[in-house]
Symmetry: C2
DNA sequence: TATTTTTCACTTGCACGCAATTGAATTGCG
DNA sequence: CGCAATTCAATTGCGTGCAAGTGAAAAATA
C-alpha cells in the first residue's frame, strides 16, 4: 500500500470520528431535549439567549456558526410557539432583534436538569469519548509534524 | 449563581464545542470534495466501499451510524450518477447490495489527494483542534469524578 | 406446516445546514 | 449630495438526519 493510500485510511478514521461524535452527541441530548420540546440546535439558541437577550439574527448566527438560511426559519418556528419574539431594530431597519418571551425565559428552569442528565447518560460512554480524544490527539500531532518540516 | 446554573454554562461550552467541530470539519472538506462532486457523507460512503465492495444497505448504515432513511436516498443519488450499482440479494431478497461501478472505483484516484489537502488546510487551525481536545478532556474528567462518588 | 415475529429497504414528514439569490436599508465614496 | 457598494434578513433549492410507518421476505415458534 502506498503512503497516499494509507493516508486515505487514516483520513477515514479521523474525519469519521469527528463526524460520528457530533451526531452521537445530538442523540444523547435528544431524549432530554424532547422533554423541553426543543431540538439540539434550538437548545443551543436558548443557551445563548438565556445569557443575553435581544441579539440580532446575525450575532446569533455568528455565535453558533450558522447562517441566516438556518437561523431564520429556526427562530420563526420558536416564535410560532411563543418562545421568542422578533422585533425589527428601529435604529437599523435591516436588523431583527430576538427576545425571549416569558415562556421562553421559563423554559430555563426545566433546562437546568439537562446537563446533569446528559452527563449521567454519558457515563457509560467513556470509551467513545476516549476514542474521539485520541483521534484528535493524533490529528494534532500530525499537524505539528507536517509543519515542522 | 447556583451550581445548577453553572452546569448549564459548562454544558453550553461542551456540547457546543463538539457540535461546532463536526460542522467545521465538514466545511474543511467541502472545497476538496467539491472537486470530486461528493458531499461529506457521500465521501464517507465511498471510503467504506473502496475498502469493501458489495455491502448491504444495512451494514453500510451500521458502519456510518446512519439509518436507512438517510442511506437509501443517498445511495440512490449515487446510483443516478452512475457511481454505484444496487442489486437485490438473490440469497435474501430483503437485502440490497451496493457495488461500485468502474466510475465509482475510478473516483478513488482523485480522492487520494484529499487527506493531505485537508491536513494542510487544518494546519492553521491548531487552536480550534486544541479547544475541542481540551473540552473533551474536561468532559472525560467530569465523567470520572461523577461516577467516583 | 401454519402463524406470528422479526428483519430489511423504502417512504414520508419535519428540521436542520448551506450555497445562492433577492430586496430593503445603510454606508461609503466621489 | 448622489450613487455605488455593502450589510442584513429572508427565501429557494438541495442534501442530509432521523422518527414513524409500510410492505415484502425470512426466521422463529407453535
Amino acid at each position: 500500500m502506498t503512503a497516499q493510500e494509507d493516508s486515505l485510511k487514516l483520513d477515514s478514521m479521523l474525519c469519521f470520528a469527528v463526524y460520528a461524535a457530533g451526531h452521537a452527541f445530538t442523540r444523547f441530548y435528544k431524549p432530554r431535549l424532547d422533554a423541553l420540546g426543543l431540538t439540539y440546535p434550538q437548545y443551543l439558541v436558548f443557551l445563548v439567549l438565556w445569557e443575553a437577550d435581544g441579539l440580532t439574527v446575525k450575532s446569533l448566527g455568528e455565535r453558533l456558526f450558522l447562517d441566516s438560511g438556518t437561523i431564520t426559519p429556526l427562530i420563526k418556528r420558536l416564535e410560532g410557539r411563543g418562545l421568542v419574539r422578533r422585533e425589527r431594530d428601529s435604529e437599523d431597519e435591516r436588523q431583527v432583534l430576538v427576545f425571549l418571551t416569558p415562556q421562553g425565559r421559563a423554559l430555563r428552569e426545566k433546562a437546568l436538569a439537562v446537563p446533569l442528565a446528559v452527563r449521567t447518560a454519558l457515563a457509560g460512554e467513556r470509551e467513545a469519548v476516549d476514542t474521539l480524544r485520541l483521534g484528535l490527539q493524533k490529528l494534532r500531532a500530525s499537524l505539528d509534524e507536517q509543519s515542522g518540516r
